[in-house]
Symmetry: none
């Protein structure tokens, strides 16, 4: 079911800013405080005390969101029913706006022995410049019958292959056997349109082998995670919001682009992002503002640098408040506890500030402080309905 029902969504109303602090939530050290609890975040705490507060659960209970599903959920889509393949994510992460007719796959350069078996699945991890050269070489020499081929170089041995053409399916197996000493598998399609893609991929593989024959290590390719862009109701149609994404990292610009948001040039940090928001405010009703450093610190397990990242976010809160939005929501796309060095399933602190908030004075903006708030646990795909309601953008249901 689409939530909220589309016929209730109004095309006029207040302006909404959603600040996503990637990896916002954390966990306490044994007997101590969490990252948020130890950080000095007076502006976030004060805003939370003047807001509705609670937690946001992006996926069904116990499931840990990857960034793709986490953001789809934030944007009001059901991440459990939408396919969001690896190839798509990689294309988005390369700032490539995959179109409906294209199939993307994640690629590795690998080393093949003369008998065709894989001796190194990562071709000795070549320098990234080398990856650029290899992608350019293949793009120049390989041609696919009736289809286009784009190669987007990544870090070291990684690239993204985008095959474009009419009637291409994505139900194609990975050719990576996931073990060295074996030959890459032939590509096969699970249905008619995917068989077309599989044939093109087999042709790409054979041509690449020929073109790369003279390379010392990167003389083969492995492709996995074939995927297309899922069919989504555009954000602007579902929520009647002119929406813009302001994210420094390509992956998150890609997620915003996927649901049809415009992309605003973000600058390099949250300060510049907020300046970009201020300039673009006349043209949009909704801003998705994404900030990454807290998540990166969580992944490295560095408590002090996660605290520093959270305190840096806190310093920008007065600026955000000063922009004059009718609704400000602050939350994350998942938790990234330092003690885990990975995402986790724990719901993420959430505040929604508007004239319709129910503030609770005992709230602080951390995992335990928001338990005292009025929102309880909000499910990810419910958030948009709440934001629209707070922005006077949802009609009453029934007379």
């Amino acid at each position: 079911m689409t939530h909220p029902p589309r016929e209730l969504v109004l095309s006029e109303g207040g302006r909404i800013a959603v600040l996503i602090v990637d990896g916002l939530g954390g966990l306490p050290l044994p007997g101590g405080g969490s990252e948020l609890e130890q950080a000095e975040i007076p502006n976030l705490d004060a805003l939370a005390r003047r807001s509705s507060a609670g937690r946001l659960q992006l996926l069904p209970t116990g499931l840990t969101p990857g960034s793709g599903p986490g953001h789809l959920s934030l944007f009001g889509y059901d991440p459990m029913t939408l396919e969001f393949g690896r190839g798509l994510l990689e294309a988005l992460g390369s700032d490539y706006p995959l179109s409906g007719g294209e199939v993307a796959a994640r690629g590795n350069f690998c080393t093949l022995a003369p008998d065709g078996s894989i001796t190194d699945r990562r071709a000795g991890r070549p320098p990234s410049e080398e990856c650029v050269r290899l992608c350019e070489l293949l793009a120049r020499e390989v041609s696919l019958e009736g289809a286009s081929l784009e190669l987007l170089p990544g870090m070291e041995h990684r690239f993204t292959a985008v095959i474009g053409g009419a009637g291409l399916g994505a139900r194609v197996n990975d050719n990576d056997p996931q073990i060295e000493g074996k030959e890459p598998l032939p590509f096969r399609g699970a249905d008619d349109i995917s068989s077309v893609t599989a044939e093109l991929a087999n042709s790409f593989f054979e041509q690449a082998r020929a073109v790369l024959r003279g390379e010392e290590r990167a003389n083969g390719i492995l492709l996995r995670g074939f995927s297309t862009r899922p069919a989504l109701d555009p954000f602007i149609e579902r929520f009647k919001l002119r929406a813009a994404g302001v994210a420094v990292y390509p992956m998150y610009r890609g997620a915003a682009r996927l649901v049809g948001m415009d992309i605003i040039e973000p600058g390099v940090d949250l300060g510049e992002q907020l300046a970009a928001v201020e300039r673009a405010m006349p043209d949009y009703d909704y801003f998705f503002i994404h900030t990454k450093p807290a998540d990166a610190a969580g992944h490295s397990g560095d408590f002090d640098s996660k605290i520093a990242a959270l305190e840096e976010v806190d310093r920008h809160i007065p600026t955000l408040e000063g922009l004059g939005f009718d609704v400000i929501a602050i939350t994350g796309d998942h938790s990234t506890p330092c003690i885990r060095k990975e995402h986790s399933w724990h719901p993420v602190p959430l505040l929604i500030h508007s004239r319709y908030a129910i503030p609770v004075p005992e709230v602080t903006f951390d995992e335990r402080g928001v338990l005292r708030g009025d929102l309880g646990v909000v499910r990810g795909p419910e958030l948009m309905a709440l934001l629209l309601a707070h922005a006077d953008r949802l009609a009453k249901y029934g007379a």
Copy 2:
């Protein structure tokens, strides 16, 4: 949808112990405390303060779970979509491992008048030894064409009949008219395979009448609740956990066996159960430990003895903690408030202890104390996903 999605479940990870205190939850006396609130349970309170805490709701809101559905829910199955007939429950309760080809029905010995009408639906409640003799007599004398017949004696007039054979359905009516003065109804099947069963049941009824002709009171049989073992994805396949049940009462061993757990000899009380768990720990990833006395006291409405049962559980908590599990969950399969002398629909206190818990210092382990915890209300079939997550046994969803 299966929750969690099977492809996310890892086959390696931490060890999990689930202690089910049957009938754990209760209700306050007017103006006073509940059973848990009045009990002295310092170990449970201390553990709850170092754990994630909340409540577990086994069924949809307002529904009171029987023991069968309550346990299915705890084990991660949807009790609202699984048929769990009376005959199956009785067979499991008799420690009989009903197999896929067998049909079980709950039986009563009854008294029939010479004209065939029922004069006593319970045959004067014979002593249980008499029931054993009658079952042995029937088992010796009755034979069904092309099918086997097992008779499991119960208390007083009760027994369980198990008919085994190829192609037997369970959509057979009860022959008990539920009123005295009427004749037992003929058995009829609602489909082809159930008609086979009905014919066997009619033959059993007629032969039983002949064999029991000389009995003073127990000269007839009534059968109801024909049921088969539901087709379930085995627990070990769904959750990739080598699982063992350690329950003193047969019914709960049966519930564990139904989902495919191994059964460990439990001894006679929680102390011996935990000793059995310790011995079996190297061979299993998950233990279901069931303790009954609190529920029994709730059913009898005896506040003091329910408090005593809870305090007895509390004394074993340090032993449980000492076993070295990575995840300990303590909850119940339903509430059994003394003021109700029956199960109730109220969610049951729940704690989950692991390194990923979010402890709240104000929590106590009782109906009102767990409201301060971080878990809120967890739905029964979500519990397994949470336990797997806490045991590092769930992969991230999406990249």
